[in-house]
């Protein structure tokens, strides 16, 4: 098998992967209400229409709030769990860590319905905060995966050296551990943010009456007239994701350079 055929396959595969996404800007700037070929002229009216939609504005605001809060909470919980798992041995460790990481293999709908049942049973009203509860649950395992790797590459003798030189546990954490795992923390925040922003099912089940972005998009799908605006929105979201990812990658490389490690290729 020569590299030649593989490359052809790879290019073909990439085309398959990007096919739907390439359509986004194509139809976002298309001067027509129907999503079909051939293309009409170039137009930015869908972007202006998008900016004027009031429900969209609220949905975006809500989703951003949920995403930021979820990512901060999930990263915090992730720091505790990752530190515990990489540094300490303790009873029931496998069981507890297994439970915490379980959302990775559970379909989201199971998480959504089980939380719904419990929250309603307890008489708690559905709101943005109930969505945050669900999002933190599914984001934390990702944070732990990223942060565990960051903590593990931390030389334990660095902490001991800080102790030996007179620092306390808290100041050691602040001066030595935190700066060195910061790239992991940033990656963790960005990944949780992205997951939360795009997550649909849990938001659908647990948001109550407040609009969130994915739910808003979902509700627009049955109006053919609204579709081009969704295309415009999608284009913006794609560019935003790529931007965030590039920033995450930049910080990751900078973090490695600052502490003189080696680049093992991608925080993935």
């Amino acid at each position: 098998m020569k590299g030649g055929w593989f490359k052809v396959y790879a290019i073909g595969y990439l085309l398959f992967l990007y096919a739907p996404i390439i359509l986004l800007p194509m139809f976002a700037f298309n001067d027509a209400t129907v999503i079909a070929f051939p293309l009409s002229g170039f137009s930015t009216r869908w972007f202006s229409a998008m900016l004027e939609e009031p429900t969209l504005r609220i949905a975006v605001k809500n989703s951003l709030f949920i995403a930021v809060t979820s990512s901060v909470l999930a990263t915090t919980l992730g720091i505790f769990a990752a530190r515990a798992s990489t540094r300490y041995r303790f009873p029931m460790k496998t069981g507890l860590m297994g439970l915490i990481m379980l959302p990775l293999v559970l379909p989201e709908i199971i998480v959504a319905v089980s939380l719904l049942v419990v929250l309603l049973g307890l008489g708690i009203n559905l709101s943005l905060w109930t969505v945050i509860l669900g999002h933190v649950l599914i984001c934390t395992p990702f944070c732990i995966a990223i942060l565990s790797s960051a903590f593990q590459s931390l030389d334990q003798s660095l902490e001991e050296a800080a102790y030996d030189l007179g620092e306390s546990a808290a100041s050691t954490f602040r001066l030595i551990i935190l700066p060195l795992v910061m790239p992991g923390i940033i990656s963790s925040l960005l990944i949780s943010f992205t997951i939360s922003l795009d997550e649909f099912i849990i938001a659908f089940f647990l948001a109550g009456t407040e609009p969130t972005l994915p739910v808003y998009i979902f509700s627009q799908f049955r109006f053919p007239a609204a579709v081009p605006v969704i295309m415009a929105l999608g284009t913006v979201l794609v560019c935003l994701s790529i931007l965030l990812l590039t920033i995450a990658e930049y910080f990751r490389r900078r973090g490695i350079a600052k502490s003189g490690g080696k680049d093992t290729g991608g925080f993935l």
Partner: protein
């Protein structure tokens, strides 16, 4: 000034330290020497406070260190990996321990500069810590520890990561540094040459116990067991029997040497299971060439193997009346012939160089 009083340590079922009792003097360069797994690093870490002990006491300057956490002990440590903080500069690393003292900037800078100067790194203050070589990192680690003027400096295999030339250089550096600063240095190493070169006294450890604690010369000339004898340098053994012991003198019968009278101090150890033997270092026997006369006693031997080393030649010879060959080391003198396998030669020796292992 550091005392171990019957220190035991268990890791679960594993008995890592078995009743360590020893005293380390102030201002000493002291080494803990032994093979991997003997407990030397564990013992060092109990001084630093990174390991607790199961029973007994660790005393520093008469004060029991039980319950005193590592960050409050009057000790500082140079770690095997040096543990230089990669995100700080060299100057920030060295000055790290003085953070709590909240010195004015100028004073801190002066102290850092002084410490760097002491280890031969003046001017390196602004360099990034992660861009240094191994030897430079070690110096930074030393400066960082010594700037705090600890009573004891602990060094955990500091030279094992360096190449041979760097190691020899640093050995001299460390001795010089210790004399200059005047505090107690405690070094952990598995390299017996290193320990012999640098230490005032050495504790040889096997399997959690101190086998022998003495200055290098005593360890070399009068090891108290075959294990210690074999660990430090090389030693020849020939079967021997103790005939009688009276008042400071010991009568022995040794293969190849015949019947001899030894001083009591030449049989320092207790009985081991290995069988009685007499031991002697390769350089304590001398091959006599044409025309040379014996300095003391003389025996005949047959050359079985010749190993040429440049400045030395090692001869494996079999003394008359023995079954196995023993090794003699001879400095090569310009113009002197190298003997051949099969040749018969005269060998001279003194009974004072022998060590009796019971």
């Amino acid at each position: 000034m550091i005392a171990f009083q019957d220190v035991h340590k268990y890791y679960g079922e594993y008995h890592a330290l078995r009743g360590i009792t020893a005293t380390i003097r102030a201002g000493e360069f002291f080494s803990l020497l032994g093979p991997s797994g003997c407990g030397k690093t564990t013992l060092l870490r109990t001084i630093a406070g990174f390991e607790g002990i199961s029973s007994g006491a660790v005393m520093i300057d008469g004060r029991n260190m039980a319950g005193v956490p590592a960050n409050q002990r009057p000790t500082n440590m140079v770690f095997q990996s040096y543990a230089i903080f990669p995100h700080l500069s060299v100057g920030e690393n060295v000055g790290f321990g003085l953070r709590k003292a909240r010195l004015p900037k100028a004073e801190l800078a002066a102290k850092v500069a002084e410490a760097l100067d002491m280890v031969g790194l003046d001017g390196y203050g602004d360099r990034a810590a992660h861009a240094l070589s191994g030897g430079q990192r070690q110096r930074v680690a030393l400066a960082r520890a010594l700037i705090l003027k600890p009573k004891v400096l602990l060094l955990d295999e500091p030279l094992s990561a360096l190449d041979k030339k760097m190691r020899e250089q640093m050995q001299v550096e460390l001795i010089r540094l210790q004399r200059q600063v005047g505090i107690t240095f405690i070094l952990v190493t598995h390299d017996q040459e290193e320990a012999l070169v640098m230490s005032d006294r050495i504790a040889v450890m096997f399997e959690g116990e101190i086998a022998q604690l003495a200055d290098p010369e005593t360890l070399y000339r009068r090891p108290n067991s075959r294990k210690v004898a074999n660990f430090i340098g090389t030693m020849n053994f020939l079967p021997a029997k103790i005939l009688s012991e009276t008042g400071g003198k010991i009568e022995i019968e040794a293969q190849g040497f015949g019947q001899l009278t030894l001083e009591a101090e030449q049989a320092p150890g207790a009985a081991s299971g290995d069988g009685a033997a007499v031991g002697f270092r390769p350089e304590t026997l001398t091959i006599l060439f044409e025309g040379q006369t014996a300095t003391d006693r003389e025996s005949m031997a047959t050359i079985e193997e010749v190993v040429y080393y440049g400045d030395m030649t090692y001869y494996d010879v079999r003394l008359d009346g023995t079954e196995k060959p023993i090794r003699i080391s001879m400095r090569n003198v310009f113009g002197r012939p190298v003997l051949e396998i099969g040749e018969r030669t005269r060998v001279t020796w003194s009974s004072g160089a022998l060590v009796m292992f019971r």
